[in-house]
Each structure stands twice: as structure tokens, then as C-alpha cells.
Symmetry: C2
Subunit: 296 residues, 2 copies
Amino acid sequence: MLPQDTPRLQDMKRCVETLQESICAALEERDGGRFGSELWQRAGGGGGRTRVLQGGALIDKGGVNVSTVWGEMDTAAAAGAGMAPGPFAACGLSLVIHPVSPRVPSVHMNVRCFVAESGRDWWYGGGADLSPTFPYPEDFVHFHAVLKGACEGAAPGSYAVHKKRCDEYFTLPHRNEMRGIGGVFFDHQREDPGSFCLVQALAEAFLATYLPIVDRRRGEIWTPEDKEFQLVRRGRYVEFNLLYDRGTRFGLATGGRAESILMSLPREAAFPYDWKPRRGSRAEEMIPLYQPRPWA
Amino acid sequence: MLPQDTPRLQDMKRCVETLQESICAALEERDGGRFGSELWQRAGGGGGRTRVLQGGALIDKGGVNVSTVWGEMDTAAAAGAGMAPGPFAACGLSLVIHPVSPRVPSVHMNVRCFVAESGRDWWYGGGADLSPTFPYPEDFVHFHAVLKGACEGAAPGSYAVHKKRCDEYFTLPHRNEMRGIGGVFFDHQREDPGSFCLVQALAEAFLATYLPIVDRRRGEIWTPEDKEFQLVRRGRYVEFNLLYDRGTRFGLATGGRAESILMSLPREAAFPYDWKPRRGSRAEEMIPLYQPRPWA
């Protein structure tokens, strides 16, 4: 059986395609705008659906993408994915929302499943992290508490492990800071059926992690100073994604659709030289929170 | 003799420090603003002077940096620099100008010298490239013609080789386009004294490559559509520098001063999803010029 025809991959495909629709619908309801929908095919096998909403009332740029791809993995690509070379299939959902308002945080969530060697070798991965630019600790506690509930429900004891991994992964070592306030991140999970339950729980928890924060903050008046800090932090987001994010680099190196991969970048970002927050500003208050700390 | 004490490195240091002052002075004269000046020290040895002008009348963000660093190179860093592990010294000048006006192109120029093994192993490298966002072929011909003169004066027959290498290097493979209209690029040049003459000629030609274009274009009225395209192309500039530029990645990976390295990023950039130029626009006319072609 080809990796893409295994029940494991087909289950994942159904799961992420269903979630793509329900997540887009819930976000459209909040925004008032509509996600576009582009089907694309990959030359080597498979393809995906990219759904992007840009220039909305709530969402400045947001994408909710699914893809199911397959083919032959060469040695380099295999090393990157932690697999043996040969036939493989991969299925995933990847979501990034950059809101208009600096009071509403950016958010990312991703789940993925790799299958190789006719289904004998496989793993699941996933993650979710929040990138706020205004210090609302109660929002960060909420985000982590929902993630904790999802992880613990699927795999007791797993939240602490995945939270620590997230703090390590979504980090800009050249600045000694995280891109946001973390969340969870895990990779190469090979428990049956626990790992699929975990990615399902994570993906299904997305709306509960994020919408309450959106609803609480979207009506707030924000200042030009808030916007400036948001654009600086979006610059850091770009730095992380292009310098370090494995999914971005792996996707581009293996000929993925550039526009679908780079939907994760904000519509606008700033890279001022040697930027410093104003003394006593909310930005200055936010900066220490881009370090690992217990939230839930 | 330590690599940093060799006449070779000391000559390079004098050359780039003198040029830093004269280039900044000429640019300040055009802009009306002043370059800042930050001296920094590197923990492992050496340091540099970072000079940045931001928010000027002409220059939105520009940096002219010199650094002279030394220490012990470990195996990974040595592989990146194409050297043997052990004591090394490196000296260079790195310059990036992102103007306010979309009619005035961004420009980059860099020269560098590596010395290792007590001066027995060494090489020079350099490059200059132009990133315009408005189709003025006569400006691109001028830029290349001056570079050609500099290269041919120092090393007859070298322009064609370095021009081709630049077309290959300053490329975004995931978009199958160059970041600009090219220039010259070379690395690991080991001719004595030809290679030092070449980097000197390149660095000294900078003002002649760029100022005539600045003077010709800075007074032009530009439109919001011009600005939009400039910001999109600045996004591509960021993509290149963070995804592919070896100097940026090597500098950050080896603990260089992040703000000095990332001065090359524009103050503002845009990453809209699946951006397309308006039919019949000047942007549409510009896009085919981001492919290799003979200019001089």
C-alpha cells in the first residue's frame, strides 16, 4: 500500500480538511470577510488547499492551509524529516493569523503526519503558539490553560514536555528571546493511537484557545505606539520564520508552493535599527514576557 | 604573527575604515542627515563600527559598517568560511542603502578579507548589487558599466565572471527571480596583489556606481503604487537575506552583533499573499528585469 493510501494518512486528511472549513467559517463570522480558496497541485505528487483572508476588519493577513503530498524522499529531504529515504506521504494543517489590532495577538497552529515505507514508519507533530504585542497576562494564561487541557486529555503529563519544547523551538537565539509567549510544540510522536488523538485534540482546541481573546480585545482602541511595536514584533516573526523555522525552510527547499508556505509572514513588518521601547511604555512591559515562564 | 597583525589584514583595515568615512560623508551631504556611530566589541576578539542613518530625507535606512574580528574558528565555522579550523582574522566593509523614494534603488556593497594560519592562508571577497523597483534601464546600464570598469581595471576579464556569479548568488530560488538586477560577486580570491586591488577598486567605485542614479532620480514624484511595489520588493529583499545570504546566516550563527548584521534589512517591508502587479503598470514592466541579462 502506498503511504498516501494508508488509513492513517486518510484519517488525518479527513480531520484537517474538516477543521479547515470549520476554523475558516468561525473566523469569517468574526471578521465579516471571506477566506479565498486556492487548490494547488504538487509536481511530485499531491497538493493542497490554501485559504487566505487579507485586509479584513479583524484579520490583516491570515491563512488556514491544508496539504497532502507524496512522492519519493531523497536523502537530504529524508534527513530533514527524520525519516528513511524512499516513498513517503505527508498531510497537515497550518494556520497563522495576523490581526489588524495590536491588542489582538498573532497566533499559529500546525498539525502534521508523516508516513513512509508503506505505512510501517510514521510520526505525528504539531504546535501552537501565541505572539502578542500587548501585555495581557490573563490572555496568555487562558491560551496555555486551554492547550494544557487539550494535551492532558489526550496524553496525561504531556503539556509540560510540549510546553518546554515550544519555549526552546520558537526562539530567536540571536536576540535571546522567544517570538511570542509560547504554547506547545512536539514532533516525531509515534504512539498508537495516542499521537493522532493528541494532534486532533490540539487542532480542535484552536478556536477555544483563540476566539475568547479575540472577543475580549478586538473592540479596544489602540494607539500609534501600539502599532509601531506590533510592526517591530512582526519583523521578529519574519526573522524567526525565515532564519529558523524548519517547516518553512524544508518546504521551500523541497519545492513547495512558495505563496502557501510564506502565507505565515505578516502583510507588513518593520525592521528599524536598534529599536528600543519607550521607558514606561506597555511595550517595555511586554518584552520580559518573551522569555519562558509558567503560564498554566 | 597572529592573523590580525599581518600586513594583509592591517592594509584591509585601513582601506575599509577610510572608505567608511568618505562614503558616509558623501551620503550625508546628499541626505542632510547624519550617520550614527556605534563602536562594538566582540567577545571572542575584535569588533567594529556600525554607522546607520535612519529616517532621512533621502535614506529611509542605510548602514555602512566595518568590522575586524579574530579568534579561533571551530570546525563548523571554518567549513562555512572555506578555511581550516584554527586562528583567524576577518576584516570587511558592508553597506546597504534603502532610500525613501521608490524611484531610487536600494544598493548593497561588501568587501571582506579572511586570514588564517598566521597569514599563510587568506582570501578576499566582495560584491555589489542594485535592487531597483522602477524600470530605468539606463540606470542599470550605468551601475554595471562602472562596476565593469572597476573590475577590468583591477583584473582584466574578471567582470563577466563576477557578474555571472552575482546573478547566481543574489537569487530567490523559491521564486525563480533575482532580488534586483545584479552586479558583481566574488569570493575566495587568492591572487597577490590582484585580489586586494580588486576589492579596493570595487569599494572605491561605490560612490560612482550609485550617486549619479541618486542625483538623477531623487527629485522625481512617486505614486502610492510605486511605494507599494517598493515595499513588496523589500519583502523579497528580507526573504533573500534571511533565507539565503551566507554573510547574514554565518554572522548570526557565530554570535555576531545582531543589530549590525540586520542593518541590511529595510525599515519597512510587505509580504502580501500572492501579490501580482497591475496590468500595464511600471511594476509589471520591472519584473522581467529581475532575471539575468547583459547590462554592460
